[in-house]
């Protein structure tokens, strides 16, 4: 009897309840995430506008990348896409570089035991604050402050001082600069918190030892902080790159009137615009799908390169050494074994 009960207990597997509990997530995930992803691939091989049912092979890709396709505006499409791609990279670099420098500086100051900054908590909160405002509000705020004419705050100041109104919103260069600035302002607090956690993860004894050895703070920064911060820096770089290549909200929202600004058109805006202009018969699903896949490929390649460049070289060298040693050991064993037997 006991043995029968025991065997029954053994046969009860609780794993299936686990599967049942996670099943809903996976169902929803497949339905709303996996399938749309696959469908984007499918769409990128189909036509545009009234031709949207037909399979057109690589036509969308050749149109977007090389300006060769069956549509009359193939070359114009290529130029628009390349312009969008260029804008994406400009806007990303333009906000990532000042952002990482500023964040790094602040993170070092805030974590430095010698600086003893009063009100650290307050500053941290204030600097993180922009990040919790929605991009829509931020865009509305900046457009109403920096509008093109003297009816808006900043330009009215400029006009009072006798200057001509500056086209903060419509000028191709200045508007890009504005978006870079806003993005930096939005994200430096977030990056700063991230880097601070990285710096605080570095053992204080290293800094103390350096102090005793007489290293100044610049030397400490370049020889201790930066090298040990590398994993966090890579993480920040990769997340920022993915976010930057998909940048949509501010470039799309920062404009006057009802149309988004062509000067700020990023790839994500290009995709959205082509996907969403009017009825099914008017939208360019093919171009939107192909552009999505291209930006995905670019992200994947850049991501891989970043990881490759930043991999732990010492660790890899050690691994190789260990393997080589193992091999030698084995070879020795074989040789030796052959001899002894």
């Amino acid at each position: 009897m006991a043995s029968a009960a025991q065997s029954r207990i053994k046969s009860i597997s609780y794993a299936k309840y686990g599967y049942m509990f996670i099943a809903p997530f996976f169902l929803v995930y497949c339905f709303f995430q996996i399938w749309p992803l696959i469908y984007t691939f499918i769409l990128s091989f189909k036509g545009n506008q009234s031709n949207n049912e037909a399979f057109v092979g690589l036509d969308n890709y050749t149109t977007i990348l090389f300006g060769q396709g069956m549509a009359a505006g193939a070359e114009a499409t290529r130029q628009e896409f390349l312009q969008a791609l260029g804008n994406t990279f400009i806007l990303w670099f333009g906000n990532f570089i000042p952002q990482i420098l500023l964040s790094l500086l602040l993170a070092v100051w805030f974590t430095d035991a010698k600086v003893k900054l009063p009100g650290k908590g307050f500053f941290k909160i204030v600097m993180y604050m922009p990040n919790i405002i929605t991009a829509a509000s931020v865009a509305a705020l900046y457009v109403s402050l920096f509008g093109d004419s003297e009816y808006y705050f900043v330009n009215s100041l400029i006009a009072n001082m006798g200057g001509d109104p500056v086209k903060f919103v419509t000028d191709p260069t200045i508007s890009k600069g504005m978006v870079m600035f806003i993005q930096t302002w939005l994200w430096f607090g977030n990056t700063m918190i991230m880097l601070m956690s990285g710096i605080m993860g570095i053992s204080p004894s290293l800094f103390e030892a350096a102090d005793i050895d007489g290293a100044n703070s610049t030397q400490q920064f370049f020889t201790i902080t930066l090298p040990l911060l590398q994993p966090i820096m890579v993480y920040t770089l990769v997340t920022s790159m993915i976010g930057g290549l998909q940048m949509f909200d501010l470039p799309y929202l920062y404009h006057n009137g009802s149309n988004f600004s062509k000067n700020l058109e990023t790839v994500a805006v290009y995709i959205y615009y082509n996907f969403n202009k009017g009825t099914v018969e008017q939208a360019n699903y093919g171009y939107a799908g192909a552009a999505s896949i291209i930006i995905f490929a670019i992200t994947a390649v850049l991501g891989s390169i970043t990881f490759y460049m930043n991999r732990d070289k010492d660790e890899i060298a050690k691994k190789k050494q260990r393997k080589r040693a193992e091999k030698q050991q084995k070879a020795k064993m074989k040789q030796g074994g052959g001899l002894t037997i």
Binding site: F21, D148, S149, Y151, N259, Q282
Partner: protein, 490 residues
């Protein structure tokens, strides 16, 4: 015990699964009332069902025609028994299974005026559902809404993009399905009927307004700088595009460039493009002659400071030009002139404003009522359309109530003859008297296409952003962008 556990686990799983799909939506009507933005109209509560036609007859006994009576009949299946609908011109073939008439729109400002007038004659609840914040948004969001399966009986479409919807049988049904035919629009302004007709000649949209436009000007400034005393004199000074330009030059000299003739390229375009009367798309080829023509004009106006090309149409800046007395006038359509509209609230708050016909007869926008193929409140829908697009008496009432130019010659001529309208923001002038002639004179361009709205938007954006370049370069840029946007065209 373990059975209990298992049952609980199963229940929890089912609950999670079912709630995971809760956002997928369903076809039930109650999803519409729950949505936002439709509360105002809900207070037009259900009129007493059985007595609906009695009530209507009492209130409007004198002015109800047979059609209205029939349509206001109670909503029990009246196809067979009542002879009134038959007398109204056609059979209603759409079903009558729902008791709430849902009208999809993007702004309730027109509809709320309508509801005020419609309440006495309605037989069942009428409400609106906002979809999109403005006409442009609505043009893209309607497609999703109409396909979603949510309740929709009628929808409002704008001139620029109505063709996308009426040429698609899955989006719209012919008005004849509600027993309404072209013959019912003998008194309507002809261009509104032409726009409401699809490629196959089927009437699918009916407009309650004729969006005729004129030129509103600041009479104080005109007197000060141009020495113009009356509206007739002003009209003489802007009666053609040549005169308009000459007056602009005169104004520039008199004010040293401090006052512009009009504000934005958008308004100028709206009036001028009507004169060109050419199709944007010829077969599948884009016709750039319109673009070239207007670009040349716009550049001349911009270079000479007759307009400010950087001003966005309808923006605060645009309004301030009028408010600050920095412009002589605006191109205004009928819907800019009513109470609470642009002239009343912002642009015309300073100075003494008047409206005249201006250099060009044109129309601007306008909204059409279209029938959804899923319409399930057919009788009420037919009644609503007839009340505001065919019935001269209710349309007169609507025009006086809202200040909108009703799409009915009989009604408008009566108002003008009676002198019953006076517009306080125009110093008591009757704008209908001016715009009636305009509305009569509007001619539709021979071929309008579903690409027009996109091409116009693309053109105006390109023009504004590149106004400093020469005409050929602008047209070239516009064409490249238009082709990139529209793979169907060449």
């Amino acid at each position: 015990m373990s059975k209990l556990k298992r049952t609980l686990a199963l229940l929890a799983t089912l609950a999670v699964t079912s709630t995971a799909f809760v956002a997928c939506g369903d076809k039930k009507e109650d999803s519409a009332p729950d949505s936002n933005n439709n509360s105002v109209a809900d207070n037009n509560s259900v009129a007493d069902d059985g007595n609906a036609d009695d009530g209507a007859a009492d209130d409007d006994a004198a002015n109800d025609d047979a059609a209205d009576d029939g349509a206001a009949d109670d909503d029990a299946a009246d196809d067979g028994d009542a002879d009134a609908p038959a007398a109204s011109g056609g059979d209603i073939s759409l079903p009558d299974t729902d008791d709430v008439l849902t009208i999809v729109c993007w702004t309730d400002s027109d509809l709320s005026n309508m509801f005020d007038i419609y309440t006495p004659v309605q037989a069942s609840e009428v409400k609106y559902q906002n979809c999109g914040g403005n006409g442009t948004e609505a043009s893209t969001q309607y497609a999703n809404y109409l396909n979603s399966g949510d309740d929709v009986d009628l929808f409002v479409a704008e001139a620029g993009w109505i063709l996308n919807y009426i040429n698609d049988d899955t989006m719209s049904a012919p008005l004849s399905d509600l027993g309404i035919s072209t013959a019912d629009y003998a008194d309507a302004y002809q261009y509104t009927v032409e726009i409401g007709t699809d490629n196959n000649g089927v009437l699918k949209g009916a407009s309650w307004q004729a969006a005729a436009g004129g030129w509103a000007y600041n009479a104080d400034l005109a007197k000060e700088y141009l020495g113009v005393e009356t509206e007739e004199d002003m009209q003489a000074k802007v009666s053609s595009w040549d005169n308009f330009k000459a007056t602009a030059e005169e104004l520039k000299t008199a004010t040293d460039g401090a006052v512009t003739m009009t504000v934005s390229l958008g308004g100028l375009w709206q009036a001028y493009s009507t004169a060109l009367n050419a199709a944007w798309v010829d077969g599948t080829a884009i016709n750039t002659s319109i673009a070239a023509d207007f670009t040349a004009m716009a550049k001349e106006y911009a270079d000479n400071g007759y307009v400010d090309p950087s001003v966005e149409q309808w923006s605060t800046e645009w309004e301030n030009y009028g408010k600050d007395g920095k412009t002589l006038g605006y191109f205004f359509s009928t819907w800019c002139l009513g109470e609470g509209a642009q002239l009343d609230t912002n642009c015309g708050t300073a100075g003494n404003w008047r409206i005249i016909q201006g250099p060009q007869e044109y129309f601007w926008g306008g909204s059409w009522l279209c029938v959804s193929p899923n319409c399930n409140t057919a009788t009420e829908a037919a009644n609503f359309i007839r009340t505001f697009t065919c019935n001269a008496d209710t349309m007169e009432e609507y025009a006086l109530y809202s200040g909108d130019f009703a799409n009915n010659k009989v009604a408008m001529n009566k108002i003008i003859a009676d002198g019953s309208n006076s517009n306080s923001s125009l110093g008591g002038q009757d704008q209908f008297a001016i715009l009636a002639d305009v509305a009569e004179g509007i001619k539709m361009s021979d071929s309008i296409s579903k690409y027009d709205q996109n091409l116009k938007d693309t053109f105006l954006t390109t023009l504004k952003e590149n106004i400093k370049e020469d005409t050929d370069a602008i047209v070239e840029k516009f064409k490249a962008q238009a082709l990139a946007d529209n793979t169907d065209l060449s």
